[in-house]
Every structure is written in structure tokens, then in C-alpha cells.
């Protein structure tokens, strides 16, 4: 089938099978391999991207369902060399080890922070319920999201 979607701000027309998953379109046809396939059973969240502004599991979305929509992947968060505050915080707080879950964690975290700009630890943990990490035990991930929230609030109040 023919689709048109906007990925990280760039609108493109593509062709794929009706059964092509969004994650496979992103990784294999567009070459954006920052989005990962972890479990293929919709549990781990490594495949998380933003679809029309909301975090979704791209392994459980058909590319066809995204026709006409806007997608942001992990590659679309930074502005040139300027990392997104969530990326900065994950780095500063050692919120990753192997890094496999990290793009999905970051995409889920940015959506979480949009909904809860000043989240409690419990809101962070619940907000990341769709993302599994086998390395870290989540402690530094929660710390990273907390720090990112604080960076983003500070930046918000500076630009106000």
C-alpha cells in the first residue's frame, strides 16, 4: 500500500505491505534504527515512538494505521547537537547500561513529562509501566526522569 507520513518533521511517501509493522517501516525502510524490537509481544516498550504526540508501541501498530500521521523517534528529539533534556538527564544520572531499552524509555518519559511536568516517583514508575529494563533495576531511570522534569521546568520558567 501507499502511505504518507511525517517522521521527525520530514514528510515522505512510502510503499509497504499492508501487514508491515510501524517499527519495521521505521527501522528497515527509513533506516531509523534507534527504535528497537525487544520482545515482539507488546510488553517491553523498546519500540516506543510518538504517534501524533503520544507514546505508543510501534511493534503493535501497522504502518498503515499511521498513514497521514506524524511520528517522532528517538532520532528526532535532539536539535542538532543539543540533546533533549531527557537525553541529558539519562546520561547524567547513568540511567542506562546496555542501552537497549533506553530509546523506548526516553520516548515514554517525554510523553509522561508532557502529562505530568512535576511527577512524583510513583507517577514516574507508573508512567514507565510499559517499558522493561533488564539491566538497571530502574532506580537511575527514575532519577533521570526526575532530573529531566526539573531541567524542563527550569527552562520553561526561563523562557516565560
Amino acid at each position: 500500500m501507499n502511505l504518507e507520513l511525517t517522521v521527525n518533521g520530514k514528510t515522505q511517501s512510502m510503499q509497504c505491505e499492508d501487514r508491515t509493522l510501524l517499527v519495521d517501516l521505521l527501522r528497515e525502510q527509513i533506516g531509523l534504527t534507534g527504535t528497537h524490537v525487544g520482545c515482539d509481544t507488546s510488553q517491553c516498550g523498546c519500540c516506543t515512538v510518538h504517534l501524533d504526540g503520544q507514546a505508543v508501541k510501534s511493534c503493535t501498530v501497522l504502518a498503515a494505521q499511521a498513514d497521514g500521521s506524524s511520528i517522532t523517534t528517538i532520532e528526532g528529539l535532539a536539535h542538532g547537537d543539543a540533546l533533549h533534556p531527557v537525553q541529558q538527564a539519562f546520561s547524567a544520572c547513568h540511567g542506562l547500561q546496555c542501552g537497549y531499552c533506553t530509546p523506548g524509555m526516553i520516548m515514554a518519559s517525554t510523553d509522561l513529562l508532557r502529562r505530568h511536568p512535576d511527577p512524583t516517583d510513583e507517577q514516574i514508575r507508573e508512567g514507565l509501566a510499559g517499558n522493561l529494563c533488564r539491566c538497571t533495576g530502574y532506580v537511575n531511570i527514575v532519577a533521570a526522569v526526575k532530573q529531566a522534569a526539573s531541567l524542563m521546568r527550569a527552562a520553561g520558567s526561563q523562557s516565560a
Binding site: 501487514r19 507488546s42 505508543v56 501497522l62 509501566a129
Partner: protein
């Protein structure tokens, strides 16, 4: 997945026609159950008719003493909706604990109840709140809608348009979630309706059911200790790798007590 044809529905009637003309066609809304099932090759529809954007299936409105929620409303939308949160907070809370945030961005009310997974949350809300399922051709009371394991009263080409919930006097939902999947091992909706008390249980049996002994006990005294002696037949409940029927029976008691205590 096996190959299939994808199409976007142009209208509700067009979707009904699509189902009627191809018995192997299936509706696609959120896809949070259907797509994983197809990825595992447990289902192989010939055609998917995407109804997620149909205006006829969208909307949350207050109509007198009821709320009408469109079948294609996402769980996250129901959870965040100010009308639902004000009128039936227990329903918003239930929706807000389905799956995880990414699932709630996609999964829909209509998809959940049409599928009737024994561990889904919404069936407990519909049965516990005496809701009405509105389809393209009729209205079906919740008590008549859920017929058993993955089975509903829907005809093969029938499409859910919306669900109407009467406002309860009070309601609460408590769920013991299986840690990996988030599905209910026992989810109990307790409600005080004008028509009486409801205790609707999901996750524990082959389908949602009312725990009538508990309803009768609560009518006498609204307290979690009123249900302590109520019979609950573990023989009718599920045993699987996550837990035995006896364990589920215990979870039902604990979750029911928690929900009751929240309203005490």
C-alpha cells in the same frame, strides 16, 4: 503475520457491509489485542477494516443521568476525561489502569468489550454499573452481552457504537494485576446503584460475573467484614500458570474488601 488487506472504514454502514461480505474480515480499532494475536499467527483475518477514526464511534457526552462513551474512545481518553472523572470516577480510574500508558494510547472501549477477554477490566465496569451496549442495530444490557470466554451477544456483522453508563450513587474498582501483563487476576467493581448493589468480578473466572452472595450481604451492611463469610465457589474459577483457583478466590475477597473500604 499472514498477509491481509487493510482498509480505512468510510462509514459505519460501510464497515457493516464489509463484515457481511467477507466472513474472514475483522474490525481494527486500537489493535492492542488483535495485532499481537495476528503476530503470533493465532488469527489470520483476510481483511482489517480500521474503524478507529469513525466519528460515529467517538465522543464522550453526559445525557441526563447517564454518560455515553463512543466505542472508539481510547482508554487514556476515558481516564483523563473531565466528564467521566466527575460523574463516574471509578470508571476513569479503571480505564487509567488498563495495560500501560502506551496501550492506553491505542486500546478502545469497544475493542475491549467485543473481545471479552476474561481478564479485561471493562467488563467488570459494564456489569457492575448495569451499562447498556449500543450497537449499529440495537441496545444490549451488559447482563445479556457477556456470554463467556471471548464470547459476546454480538452478531458476526454487528458493530458496537457506544456504551451508556448510568451514574451510580457510588462505585469503586480494585484490581490485583498480574505483574508482567497488567491483566486482572482479580478485578472487582463494587457499586451502589439506584437498582441495588453490584459486585462484578473479572479476571478470576472464565468471564465476568456478579458475586451475588456479596451483594446480598452488603445490602444488609455496607462493610468489608460483611462479605467475610460469603461463599465463593473456587471450582468455577481459573487455574493457570499465574495462580490457582483457590488463590484467585482469595484475591477476589481481598479486592472486593478494598473496593468496599474505599467507599466506607
Amino acid at each position: 503475520m499472514y498477509p491481509f488487506t487493510y482498509e480505512r472504514a468510510s462509514s459505519l454502514q460501510h464497515s457493516v457491509q464489509g463484515l457481511r461480505s467477507d466472513p474472514e474480515a475483522k474490525l481494527l480499532a486500537g489493535g492492542m489485542t488483535l495485532l499481537p494475536t495476528m503476530k503470533m499467527r493465532l488469527a489470520a483475518p483476510s481483511r482489517l477494516i480500521d474503524i478507529a477514526r469513525l466519528a460515529d464511534l467517538r465522543g464522550i457526552t453526559r445525557e441526563g443521568n447517564t454518560i455515553v462513551i463512543g466505542a472508539a474512545q481510547r482508554h487514556g481518553e476515558v481516564a483523563a476525561d473531565p466528564t467521566v472523572r466527575a460523574a463516574i470516577p471509578a470508571l476513569a480510574e479503571l480505564a487509567g489502569h488498563i495495560g500501560d500508558p502506551q496501550v492506553r494510547a491505542r486500546g478502545t472501549l469497544g475493542g475491549s468489550i467485543a473481545n471479552n477477554d476474561p481478564a479485561a477490566d471493562y467488563p467488570a465496569a459494564l456489569l457492575g454499573l448495569d451499562a447498556t451496549v449500543i450497537t449499529d442495530r440495537r441496545s444490549i444490557a451488559a447482563a445479556d452481552f457477556f456470554l463467556g470466554l471471548f464470547t459476546t451477544a454480538l452478531e458476526p456483522d454487528e458493530i458496537i457504537r457506544a456504551v451508556r453508563f448510568a451514574l451510580p450513587r457510588r462505585a469503586a474498582y480494585a484490581k490485583f494485576a498480574q505483574a508482567a501483563s497488567g491483566y486482572a487476576m482479580a478485578g472487582v467493581m463494587v457499586a451502589q446503584l439506584d437498582a441495588g448493589i453490584r459486585v462484578a468480578v473479572t479476571g478470576a473466572g472464565p468471564g465476568v460475573f456478579r458475586w451475588r452472595e456479596a451483594e446480598a450481604a452488603l445490602a444488609g451492611k455496607w462493610s468489608s467484614d460483611a462479605i467475610a463469610g460469603c461463599a465463593l465457589d473456587a471450582g468455577a474459577l481459573n487455574t493457570d500458570l499465574h495462580g490457582s483457583a483457590a488463590y484467585r478466590a482469595q484475591l477476589v475477597r481481598v479486592m472486593a474488601a478494598q473496593a468496599i473500604d474505599r467507599l466506607s
